[in-house]
Amino acid sequence: MITANINGIPVKVRRGTTILDAAKKINIKIPVLCKHPDLDSTAACGICVVKNAGSGKFLRACCTPIEEGMNITTHDNELHEVRKTVIELILSNHPNDCLQCARNNNCELQKLAADFGIREYPFHQLKKGLQPDYSTKIINLVADKCILCGRCINVCQNIQNVWALSFLDRGIKTRISAAGDINLADSPCIKCGQCSAHCPTGAIAEYDETEKTWKALYDPDKYCVVQIAPAVRVAIGEAFGYPEGENLTGKLYAALRKLGFKAVFDTSFGADLTVMEEATEFIQRFVHKKGPLPLITSCCPSWVDFMEKYYSDMIEHFSTAKSPQAMVGVLSKTYYAEQNNIDPSKIFMVSIMPCTAKKYEITRSEEMFASGYQDIDVSLTTRELSRMIKQAGIDFVGLEDGKPDHILGDYTGAGVIFGATGGVMEAALRTAHYYITGENAGIMDFESVRGLKGVKETTVEIDGNSIKVAIAHGIGNVEYVLNKIQKAIAERKEIPYHFVEVMACPGGCVGGGGQPYGVTDKLRISRSQGLYLDDEKQDFHYAHENPYIKKLYNDFLGKPLSEKSHKLLHTFYNPRPLYRK
């Protein structure tokens, strides 16, 4: 333990604690800008400087470990002047066009400027004049607004291990870009959007498709339907002042109807359906030895993109089952249209996702057009939806809870936990257990797959079978699991796992790149908790018990992995080059 003094107040903390965290412990808030709790300090901004009385030096609180006997001053006139000047300097190299910015009212730089009472720009305005990169039509890179905190690069390289983003040039010309100064669309970017979720300003944001959605909603010829993903319901509240992790499913249904959607579906229903197909696939491979093990989940489009680019030799291990989004999408224009006698060409399918990569998924391969039309027309992020609700003047807080359409809308607890890391595995194991034993497992039997540990490895016993599973979230954690599999295959040794779940974003979809800003591990846990509570309050906890899933198979699909299922609910993978020429 270290004993030191901050502003005259004694503090005792563990060795290695930063000055910033030590100060926090005694309720002293040191302003920061570039620091993000998820990431190692880059020490780029210089806002968090404090004074060390002993050496007389200025230290960065965010990354300097407090030492025994240190006497730190966090606030005085000199520090105030330095911090304010640094903020003014940053603003002198920023467009300051807050009104037109994607992050207006939600920007860390704007907030800091407000906190410091910046009322003028005292220095010359140094324009950057950089071209924005809209090439992906998923993630916008607006280098002009970048303050070079380095978070996006840090997360892309060190957390996601993708290395699509990089700094280019030096000095005042330093800028962020796809590495090699190419378009982001031509880079190895997997569209996970973690860069946008970590960006403090409007430099990286989702490609906004709210206008396109409004247009469809106001088009009398269009029949607009919508689906919402599990993770959205426990995060949207953050935009409306609710406590972290509050489940607002009912209000979301109501808000979506108010926006003008004629039918409201739930992606959690699609998740139940994915479980049916994927668990059947697993049984095929595990019990009937048809196909290679381990089976690897494929409902995360960033993960799919990553695998196709970096690990295409693993394609045969991938579940061919489409993601829940894609399943609800295709069924809305086939099954739903058929049941309700609606011309599928008139249906405009919108998905509300916690994710930026879902915008990519909706056109990623020809199977995404299985209905004969583009199955999903627009995929919006949670952030885009919250803006639409505000634009429509809906009193979200005052809304009475709504209901989904039963068909493609009613879900079980198994479907809704898809949004948390380990959720897909847990839901699939519940149904696999039923397929193997004919009985349901307890709903907490597979609890060991939950939690924020980067790689979770466990063995579950089902009817005398030991099923070895691994769950990885955050692409940086995937390498360990895949290397282990590849090594075993190469050496013809026993495979280390039978079933593997991967989610690109840390925490799974609750921490998705399209979720409200400011995600931390604490928030990831609260949001996940919201989903597990949803599971608990549901009547059904097993995908195979969902009465509407049963009805769907009876009325329309036949059985899992039937010919029709294959046509509508499955997809294929192809190796893709890292860099598109």
């Binding site: 400087v49 960065r60 300097t64 470990p65 000047t85 300097l89 002198s92 070079l148 005042i172």
Partner: protein, 576 residues
């Protein structure tokens, strides 16, 4: 093989005629197989034309003409006799420790280094002292890092020594980047083994087995000589496994710097060796605890390491007697600017600036008075002439608003403009700022903008306050040494010469005549002889008129190049 060193001390032999002439003469005398001619950077003599030094006799001849060569080769080289009337008589207040061998030995021959007692320091460290005793010797010597910071060497090495790790590293920082500084280059080119020996001692004492020479790619000769030294040392059993039969093994790799000034900063240099973008990282942890590849790493500058062998051959006590109370030993300065003898000088710390400038440098170059001395390169500052009698050491220079830095020393006279000088250094910092941290990246650019508008007479008094405000923030909030010291040229010129800044702002005048935008050239009609020389030399046709009616300068068109002013033989053009 014996050696002749050739030094062109003032750039008069650009075509290399002397070099060929000496070779010819050796050929004629039939002794070319016995003598080797080596071009060197420094033999401690400046502005004395072409110089030859014959080794091992030590005869030095200066101000040579081509006609002198055959005589010298015959009499002095072949017959070994001194030619008294030609012998150089340069004596000064310099004390050579770092440059002890530069210009004295053949840098490409390990034998030559061994003859001067080379690698004896290493032997003592390996076989006579316990490691603790060696560290104690360094402590007694009082040697501090010569790269700029002045951190006590023994402490740095001791930190690395005490940190437990499977691997440790030693890095020699040869990424000399200050404009005008070339002491590291001189040592690497003139005496590479002394640096190598310093690295070996460091490696042994801290428990490292691997060393890196990080040398800027712009120093090809230094690189090839260091490579030669490494190869030779390997052959002599001074590098590799079980050095000199001890249980100490050490290998060395050379890495080239790609031209970024910031890579001279230790954490950025380490990032560069690791193959990453040359960005500094926050300290602590210091490299001596967590450096290259996350392992304890000793990183020292060339000059520091070159001191190490001497401390062990002559003793820490001997070393500590040279220098000032807080700063021991010598410092090499790259003396330049408006001074007669520019070049490298090595002086004991504690010597005054006046002694360096007048006793060693030979005084002012032109008729102008001295105005100030700039030390420490872009990280340093100016010291006004009132402080010329201050003894030079780390603390004193800092108190005066400058720093020792790597040892740049530029003498400034009354024809130099302080705003222009600050602008020059700020321009350098803007170019070389890595761009990682906001205060340095944006602050230096903003300071340059303000300096620029002051130099153009477009600034207001308020801008001086803004300049000071930015300078303070950049100094305190920047991440690395480059940013923290970047405001020094501005702050120090403002400290001593604020009035000159105000003249630019208030009176729109640059008293030194350096700030072009504030100049106005006019023809004094009474003095003009209508020779039309100015008219013919104006590159932008800003001068109109004819031989009968005289000439006038159109200041709208004038680009203030000063051609007319220079060419006029009758002082008929005024500048003001």
């Amino acid at each position: 093989m014996k050696v002749i060193l050739l030094k062109d001390t003032d750039g008069k032999d650009r075509e290399g005629l002397f070099h060929d002439k000496v070779l010819d003469a050796l050929q004629k005398e039939g002794i070319s197989d016995k003598w080797k001619l080596v071009r060197v950077v420094d033999i401690g003599i400046y502005n004395r034309g072409v110089a030859l030094k014959i080794l091992p006799a030590g005869f030095t001849y200066t101000d040579l003409t081509e006609e002198d060569i055959p005589g010298i080769v015959r009499k002095s080289i072949k017959e070994g006799k001194e030619i008294k009337e030609k012998i150089s008589s340069v004596k000064d207040k310099q004390v050579k420790i770092v440059l002890r061998n530069c210009g004295v030995i053949d840098p490409e021959n390990i034998e030559s280094y061994l003859e001067t007692g080379g690698y004896q320091g290493l032997k003592k460290v390996l076989f006579e002292y316990k490691p603790e005793e060696s560290i104690e010797e360094l402590k007694i010597s009082g040697l501090r890092g010569r790269g700029g910071g002045g951190f006590p060497l023994w402490m740095k090495w001791n930190f690395a020594r005490k940190t437990r790790s499977d691997e440790k590293y030693v890095i020699c920082n040869g990424d000399e980047g200050d404009p005008g500084a070339y002491m590291d280059r001189s040592v690497l080119e003139g005496d590479p083994h002394s640096v190598l020996e310093g690295m070996l001692v460091a490696g042994y004492l801290v428990g490292a087995q691997k060393g890196y020479f990080y040398i800027r790619a712009e120093y090809p000769l230094a690189i090839s000589r260091v490579q030669k030294a490494v190869d030779d040392a390997q052959e002599y059993g001074l590098l590799g496994n079980n050095i000199l039969g001890s249980d100490f093994s050490f290998s060395i790799e050379i890495r080239l710097g790609a031209g970024a000034f910031v890579c001279g900063e230790e954490t950025a240099l380490i990032a560069s060796i690791e193959g990453k973008r040359g960005y500094p990282s926050p300290r602590p942890p210091y490299p001596s605890v967590k450096g290259l590849w996350g392992r304890p790493t000793v990183i020292n500058n060339v000059e520091t390491l070159a001191n190490v062998p001497v401390i062990f051959t002559k003793g820490g006590k001997w070393f500590s007697k040279i220098g000032s109370p807080t700063s021991k030993g010598t410092k090499v300065f790259a003396l330049t600017g408006k001074i007669k003898n520019s070049g490298l000088v090595e002086v004991p710390m504690g010597i005054t600036l006046r002694e360096i400038i007048y006793d060693i440098g030979g005084g002012m170059l032109n008729s102008y008075d001295i105005k100030a001395v700039q030390t420490g390169g872009p990280s340093g500052g100016v010291i006004s002439k009132e402080h010329l009698d201050t003894p030079v050491d780390y603390e004193n220079l800092q108190k005066l608003g400058s720093i020792m830095g790597s040892g740049g020393m530029i003498v400034i006279d009354e024809s130099d403009c302080m705003v222009d000088l600050a602008k020059f250094y700020m321009n350098f910092c803007v170019d070389e700022s890595c761009g990682k941290c906001a205060p340095c990246r944006i602050g230096t650019t903003q300071m340059l903008e303000y300096l620029d508008s002051i130099s153009k007479g477009k600034a207001s008094q308020e801008d001086i306050a803004k300049l000071k405000k930015i300078a303070a923030a950049v100094k305190k909030a920047s991440l690395c040494g480059l940013g923290q010291t970047a405001p020094n040229p501005v702050l120090s010129t403002l400290r001593y010469f604020e009035e000159e800044y105000l003249e630019h702002i208030r009176d729109k005048k640059c008293r030194a005549g350096k700030c072009k935008e504030l100049l106005e050239y006019t023809i004094i009609q009474e003095k003009c002889r209508r020779c039309s020389l100015c008219f013919r030399n104006c590159p932008v046709s800003a001068i109109s008129g004819n031989n009968k009616e005289g000439f006038v300068i159109d200041n709208e068109k004038c680009i203030k190049c000063g051609n007319c002013f220079e060419v006029c033989k009758f002082e008929a053009i005024s500048r003001g």
